[in-house]
């Protein structure tokens, strides 16, 4: 249900959207973490989309949202529903990833104590997204290891995930 090799952004963009919206996510705080996922879940439920797709879509939105709240300065979640697919795109403006291969490894994490206190940052997110949800695309410009972390860089992580409705 979650993915297909072969499904591309081109195919998806040719489909006519019956719903499309962008939800801003505030970075660096957990105050509203999960708010967008709840909103998207309620929206999809109202569209009478199958329970299982709603659950999975909410799950990937939540993973992405927590990621933005944990690591980015700001971000947004784009939801697009066509008669064939639900697509979720998470885009953030944050510090980027220095070593993508390392970041994809289960257990590797750069989480702060605050993030771990909330029950996250175990280094499972990217592994989960890439090995179990299979994003259609995952883009993160490589950040130089020498770039100061203290200064936010305008580097974006962009993930696109889709669920089939047929």
């Amino acid at each position: 249900m979650a993915v297909w090799k072969g499904l591309t952004t081109n195919v998806l963009s040719r489909e006519t959207a019956i719903y499309e919206n962008s939800f801003p996510v505030e970075g660096g705080t957990y105050e509203n973490a999960g708010h967008v996922s709840s909103q998207i879940k309620a929206l999809l439920k109202r569209m009478k989309i199958s329970k299982e797709v709603v659950r999975r879509a909410a799950l990937v939105t939540y993973e992405s949202e927590i990621n933005i709240c944990s690591y980015a300065r700001s971000g947004k979640i784009l939801l697009r529903v066509t008669p064939e697919h639900v697509t979720i795109e998470a885009i953030d403006e944050g510090q980027g990833i220095v070593d993508i291969e390392l970041a994809m490894q289960e257990g590797y994490s750069t989480a702060t104590d605050k993030i771990r206190e909330m029950g996250f940052g175990a280094g499972m997110g990217w592994d989960f997204v890439t090995s179990r949800i299979f994003p259609i695309s995952f883009v993160s410009p490589r950040r130089s290891a020498k770039a100061p972390i203290s200064r936010w860089l305008l580097v974006s992580i962009k993930i696109l995930m889709a669920f089939s409705l047929i």
Partner: protein
Amino acid sequence: MTLREIKELLDAEVLVGHDQLDKEIKTAFGADLMSDVLAFAKAGSLLLTGLTNPQVIRTSDVLDIAAIIMVRGKRPSPETLRLAEEFLIPVLTTKYILFETAGKLYAKGIVGCMERVDDERAFS
């Protein structure tokens, strides 16, 4: 088992969801790490945890968790309880530790929502 029977078994206090105690529970998942809950917990399961922040409720809502048992006598913040009420997710608190809570439930026939994490690597 119903949530009411679980409440009696664990000598638990109901904090949210007094009207949902007839809910039937068959499986459970226990963890203090929400990343693990997200990766492994299944819809309709009971969540046993010692974590009490609002993300526990958000995570449970996303996964369609049936109810939350806070172990080791943990009491959530008003903000956490407010969210639980908003999402209609029952929250109970028990003085038993996680191991004892899980053992008591298991002895009564509640099983894990999965046995091993390599049971199903595919996202299903």
